[in-house]
Amino acid sequence: MIVAGIDVGSLTAKCVLLKDGELVAYKVIKVSPNLEETADKVFGEALEEAGINKGNIERIVATGYGRNKVSFADRTVTEISCHAKGALFFIPTARTVIDIGGQDSKVISIENGKVAEFVMNDKCAAGTGRFLEVMASALHLKIEDLGDVAERANRATKISSTCTVFAESEVISHLASGERVEDIVAGIHEAIASRIAAMARRVKVEPDVVLTGGVAKNKAMKKALERELGMEVKIPAEPQIVGAVGAALFAMS
């Protein structure tokens, strides 16, 4: 049986194809303002990659903020349930899932393979991928290089503003006062980690902790979170498609 999971998030759309429970293909593309078109496109590209015909897909489940715009999906499941299921697919011992998405972040606690409790932050960009993007652009760095830059820090500069816009001004004033870019970048990672940890403490944080979302590819972020939470943080093989994998798994049942 071949099924598809489509996760239309705020910045990227992901499509995953599973054949008999095995990952056969996936695709990640940028989201355009036309969510329906985006969903269609990412689905088409994933099919092409796998060399599978649309007609062979048995069921499609959509998730993410744009889930209700995926008109060809058989049903929708929220990203909370999908991230939990997807995280368990990659790391069966997962008890806590921290997802840092493009413009929200969430912490999900899992009990007996099911979502027990969750908290979400989507009111503000602090503690999201967007925060990193803004800081990277203020420092003229590429977002994918941020982690490596942070690794070269001697110490972490304290970033105390909670608001992304004010934090950007703060970063600029640190530059003006002669702080090293590496230290500032390390400080940025700590600021996000501390915000995420504060939110995570509202649910039970139990090992194994799994970090998902595009930001999980950043090694410095993983380390900052580990320091803040005082426990190891595991990263799935493909952290960005965890929600889509979860959706595809729901499509199987």
Binding site: T78, I80, V115, E117
Partner: protein
């Protein structure tokens, strides 16, 4: 004359008996802008949003009665008095709900009757008898309506109407109402929520509702049966009993933990509890950790939704509510 009020501890019966119409004041749909010059942004958006409407001239009320339930409402009364043309009166509803404070509240009601007289409204034994009976009738009918199916639109609308029109309105709803379907049931608890879309999100997610919301069930849940009165004083004594025994709110102190017991009892037949809390609402937020713990001990799933009026993004709320459905279904 229309007399505005914000809190369900306001004795609407006296206002009606004096020949005025009590009108509940809700926050509006527009972004809060004018009120920002008078109230700090860390006051709740119900207070700021209500005052915004007053400043914009959207309210057809000529006087406002405050019950001084929380710090914000107390200060709002002062701000309202200084910055609008409306008459403002502070009715001191006791914080401590016990036998000793009954006499105090009785005297407060006597003072309020005199104020209503100054404003040109006479409370007589006949007018008070009628108002007590009408509100009792309205409350019973709303209870009946909510038993069949919660109707938050009706609950909101009747709070802005004369009680006589309100009764007719609920009668019409009762003739049309159909029983809710099946699905997991949640208790929603919190202060006020006049934004009807929020309730719709729950229904659309497949959840059946029961509530402890000040603009919902707490508006009509009083536990004192109607009594025949012989004098205005009799009527005031009855109102003391009625308001002391109403569905409790966290702004009050009850010697026997009435508030917690009330919530835990309501939650018994529910699959989950959603705290629909208004950002910066201290009375509700201080209760939240303990209540959550007690509800979880009962085996209930709990979700906290923080609201700010006007509600900017319903889709974000929808995701949380649908996810909660997936957790409890």
């Amino acid at each position: 004359m229309n007399i505005g009020y914000l809190c369900t501890y306001t004795p609407k019966e006296l206002i009606d008996a004096a020949g005025f119409t009590p009108v509940r004041i809700f926050a509006g749909d527009d972004q809060i802008s004018l009120a920002t010059a008078y109230i700090q942004s860390y006051a709740c958006s119900q207070a700021r949003g209500s005052f915004e409407r007053a400043l914009k001239g959207e309210l057809d009320v000529q006087a406002v009665v405050f019950t001084r339930c929380c710090d914000t409402l107390m200060r709002l009364a002062d701000i309202w008095e200084r910055n609008t043309d409306m008459k403002v009166y502070n009715l001191e509803f006791p914080s401590r709900i016990d036998e000793e404070s009954k006499d105090y509240y009785f005297r407060e009601l006597q003072d309020f009757v005199n104020i209503l007289k100054e404003w040109g409204g006479d409370v007589t034994v006949d007018s008070l008898r009628e108002s007590l009976k009408l509100y009792w009738e309205l409350e019973e009918k709303l209870k009946k309506l909510f038993e069949v199916k919660p109707d938050y639109e009706a609950a909101k609308k009747v709070q802005e109407m004369n009680v006589r029109d309100a009764i007719e309105f609920v009668d019409r709803r009762l003739r049309k109402v159909e029983k809710s379907g099946v699905g997991p049931k949640v208790l929603i608890t919190g202060s006020v929520c006049p934004f009807l879309e929020v309730y719709k999100l729950f229904e659309e997610a497949g959840l059946l509702l029961k509530d402890d919301i000040c603009t919902g069930t707490r508006f009509f849940t009083y536990n004192t049966p109607l009594k025949e009165i012989e004098s205005v004083e009799d009527g005031l004594r009855f109102l003391v009993e009625k308001y002391f025994n109403k569905a409790p709110c966290p702004t009050k102190h009850f010697p026997n933990d009435d508030r917690f017991n009330y919530i835990l009892e309501l939650a018994k037949d529910c699959d989950g509890v959603v705290f629909l809390l208004l950002k910066f609402c201290e009375p509700h937020f201080y209760d939240y950790p303990q209540l959550k713990e007690k509800l979880e001990e009962m085996g209930k799933k709990v979700l906290l939704l923080e609201l700010e009026f006007p509600i900017a993004s319903y889709e974000q709320l929808r995701t949380r509510i649908e996810a909660f459905y997936e957790v409890i279904a």
